[in-house]
Subunit: 233 residues, 2 copies
DNA sequence: TGTACATCAGTGAACGCGCGTTCACTGATGTAC
DNA sequence: TGTACATCAGTGAACGCGCGTTCACTGATGTAC
């Protein structure tokens, strides 16, 4: 089974390259990644890496796609675990939202790579990068829809409002109908809050201010979710 | 007036260095800043820069302090302008919150420098960096307190809750009493939302999703502020 | 008014370093006959 | 079973490049006397 074998070997090394790349990024920052440093670390010469990735940029693209995929998979796992344990749709949503942050704390360099400063000189190819970046939104939308279907959502009048230009974009770009639009809109607002807390924490702006970021995050999220009528616990 | 003159000359050049540094960061990313590139741009040799900054790290520190200071000053100006135009404390707060984003859009590289990925190998000296980073929080707190004093705030029962560990930190670190703590806590939550929307927008994650980030931001903020009882317009 | 002097912004060479990418190549492996 | 062969991961030298920092220096300026 020669072809099989070679593909496996290839994958093992290319995974080792990516793992080393992540470790080096954690030390030197996302912009400090270099093929020569990876090669040095793996006891290879730099040209050897060109068997696995066409260029440094190709490697970065692979790492970014992995990052988005890993984030979405981690959050999905958390919601599935909750569902398996008999949690309500609302509780599954909470589990997912908590996992958003947990992943970022476990993989801070991946967070920086995909949500932080772009790497100078690198331009992400949208064809491969956008689908990966969309996974999380799809997941959150599924969970929100399930909660809505279960009657666990109660939006106020104000929460039903979507600015006209934004509504038009939701319809044109995602084919979201007028009924689902407030839900999608709300999701984006909750996402912004999540993301803000996580970004501030990752870059060490939140910890000094609130002391215990765990309870700050969890309480803020619970409060925000209750605001849209979600009853948890 | 020789001493006067020399200080001015010195300041002019050191300002030119910082301005060039900002421009180069905008092109090459914050991590791509180099003394040699700045010198090249200014038709100087690299060693000449050592008359103005002790090292590359010293220059970065100056840029970071400038960034925090500029952000706070920009936001303060906006609130002062509103006050001068006869706006209520609640409206001044809204003006400040809108300015938070406006500054980031005008100076995206400064935003990335102070709120984004750290520069590899650089460690900010807290003694000089922390006071600058605290300016904005102080300003927002002033504005919130003024709004509260004007009776423009109405917190719900749930909004009065502060997690015990967080409350303890507020008291120990900032000497905030139990009455002001919910206000401070609320400010940090609103700040997180602001920051999340701005960070997502700056890094091009929000635009593709909501289409019109202007109205998304403004509507979300207005809704959030109304949630704490602020009546604006 | 004229001269000696201090100041100090800026120079140019050098230090040792790391980078992505290309190219022709080696040498082990395992298949095909 | 034995030999010719293709495959292909990995090598080593080279390309041209940029970096922070140090050092002894130059040369214009303007002051002090």
């Amino acid at each position: 089974v020669p072809r099989q074998r070679q593909v496996e070997l290839n994958e093992a090394t290319s995974n080792a390259i990516k793992a080393t790349a992540r470790r080096l990024m954690a030390e030197k920052g996302t912009a400090g990644l270099s093929l020569r440093a990876i090669a040095r670390e793996l006891d290879l010469t730099a040209p050897a890496l060109y068997h696995y990735f066409g260029s440094l940029d190709d490697l970065i693209t692979a790492l970014i796609v992995d990052g988005f995929t890993s984030h979405a998979a981690y959050v999905r796992q958390a919601s599935i675990r909750a569902a398996t344990a008999g949690a309500s749709p609302a509780q599954q949503l909470l589990a997912a939202v908590l996992a958003y942050r947990a992943w970022a704390l476990e993989q801070p360099i991946d967070f920086q790579l995909i949500y932080g400063n772009p790497i100078p000189g690198y331009a992400a190819p949208p064809a491969v990068t956008v689908p990966a970046a969309s996974l999380l939104g799809q997941l959150f939308m599924e969970l929100l829809m399930a909660a809505a279907a279960a009657g666990a959502l109660a939006l106020t009048e104000a929460q039903q409002q979507v600015p006209p230009l934004v509504l038009a974009h939701y319809q044109a770009r995602f084919g979201i109908d007028v009924l689902a639009a407030p839900l999608f809109h709300l999701m984006n607002q909750v996402w912004s809050l999540l993301h803000g807390m996580v970004a501030l924490e990752i870059y060490h702006h939140l910890g000094p201010v609130v002391g215990d970021t765990n309870s700050f995050y969890e309480q803020s999220i619970r409060h925000q979710l209750q605001t849209i009528g979600l009853s948890i616990m």
